[in-house]
Amino acid sequence: MTQIPDEPRYTDEHEWALEGKGLLVIGITDHAQEALGEIVYVELPSEGDEIAKGDSFGAVESTKAVSDLYAPVKGEIIEVNEALFNSPEIINEDPYGEGWLIKVRPHDPTELDDLMDHEDYAEFLEKDIG
C-alpha cells in the first residue's frame, strides 16, 4: 500500500514538501519511488542555488528511467542530502525520512498553500493510476 503521511503537502509531480523551522524539506513520494524502481542515481542542485516554482531542480534515475524533480516553491537551497550521492537507494527505503532531497528557504511561504494535502494527493493518485 502506498504511504501518504498526513503532514506534508504534495505536488502533481509526486514531490512532497514538509514545513519546519522556517524551512521546507522536499522529497519524492512513496508512489514515485515505487514507480521508478531501484534508484541508482540522484542529481541535486548546490547549496545557495535558487529554485523557481515548477522548474526542474534535478533528477532521480533508476537503471531504466529518469524522473525530473520539480520545485514546489520558489526559494533558496539551504541543504542537500549528500548521503544520497553514494546511497541513492535510501530514497527507496525511506522516501519521507532519510531519503529527503533538499531543504529550501521559501521566499513566499504562502506558495505552500497551492499544493495538495494528503487527501487530495490520495485522490489524485487514484485518478492517475486509475
Partner: protein, 372 residues
Amino acid sequence: MRRTSLFPIHKELDAKIVEFAGWEMPVQYEGVRAEHCVVRRQAGLFDISHMGEIEVTGKEAARFCQLVTTNDLGRLDNFQAQYTLFCNFRGGVVDDVILYRFSDERLLFCVNASNRTQVLEWLKGLSHMCDVEITDRSHEFAQVAIQGPASEPILSKTVGEDLGVLQSFSFRSLNWSGKDLTISRTGYTGEDGFEIFLPWQDGQNLWTELTTVGKQYGLKPCGLGARDTLRIEMGYSLYGHEINERVSPFDAGLGKYVKMYKEDFIGKEALQDALSKGSKNKVVGFEMIARGIPRQGYDILKNGVSLGKVTSGTLSPTLDKSIGIGYLNKEVEHGGRIEIWIRGTAREALVVDLPFYKRQGRASIKTQSIKN
C-alpha cells in the same frame, strides 16, 4: 494488451509489469541490478514469449530467406541459427532477427515483438518471388531464455540431455515429457545460454521445472529491465534505438552481417550505393567521465558542436559506470572526448570500444560470438 502464458507466474512472483510492444511484460522481479548480476554470475530465467515467430516453408524456402536477408544462409547447416537483418529497398533495417534453419524447406525467423506485424506484411509482400508460404506462428510458441554460466547444467538436468555438445548458434528439437521443445544456444546477454521454443500452453510447466532444478545453482527470474542493461553492456543493437528503417547496417556497426558477395538480396543495390558513397554516421560506445546517465535522445557534442544523439544508455551494473551508445556524424578516435547534453549542461564522456563488457573464462571459447 496481450499477456504471455507465463503471466500468472509473473503476478505470483510480484513482478513489476510494464507495457512493451503491446504486451504486459515483467520489467523486474527483485530488482534490475540483482537480476543483471545473477545472469553474469549464475543464471537468469526470462520470459520472451512476446517475441514473434514467422515460419517460411516450401520448396524454395531457403532461397527465399537468402533473398530477403543480408547475412549468408549458404553458410548455415540444418539445425544452425544465424543473426541476420531484413533491409528495405533503400538499405534501411526493417528488423534484426535470428534465423533458424530446420531444413531447406522449413526455416523460422524469430523477430522483435514490436516489428512482428510489419515484418509479416513485408515478407508476405515479397513471397511471390519464390515458391514459399509465410506463416505467423507467434501465438503458438512460448519462449523462455535461460542465460548465464550455470545455464547448461540447469537446462541439461531439467530436460535430461547433455546440452554441453550443443554449439553456439546451434539448436535441436527434443521431446520433454511429451512436449516438443526447440532448444537453441543463443541469447541477448553476452553470457552462455539457451533460448527455448515450446508450445504456448506448456510455458508454465517448463518455467516451474527450470526454477526447481535451478534453485541450487542460484537461478532467478529476470525481467526486461535486466535484459536491456545486459544487452547494452554488450553493445547489442535494439530496434528502435540503434537501428530503424532509416539506418543502414553499416552505420549501425552491423556490416559483418551484410554479405555483399551474395548474388542478390533485397536492399543490396542501395547498400552498394551507401558503401561507395561512404557515410560519416557511425555508432559508437562511450563512458561518462562527468556525473550523469546518458539516455536515448540526448545530444552528443564535441567542443559545443552537435555531433549526434544517444540511442541507449544506463548505469552499467557490472562496470558500475554510466555507459551509452549513440551516433556521431564525425569521426572521433577511441579515447577521444565528447560531451553529452544532460539537463542543460554538457558533460564529458570518452569514446570507447564496444562491447563494454567481455566475458571471462572457459565458456567464452565455446560461444565466442553471440551473433555469428
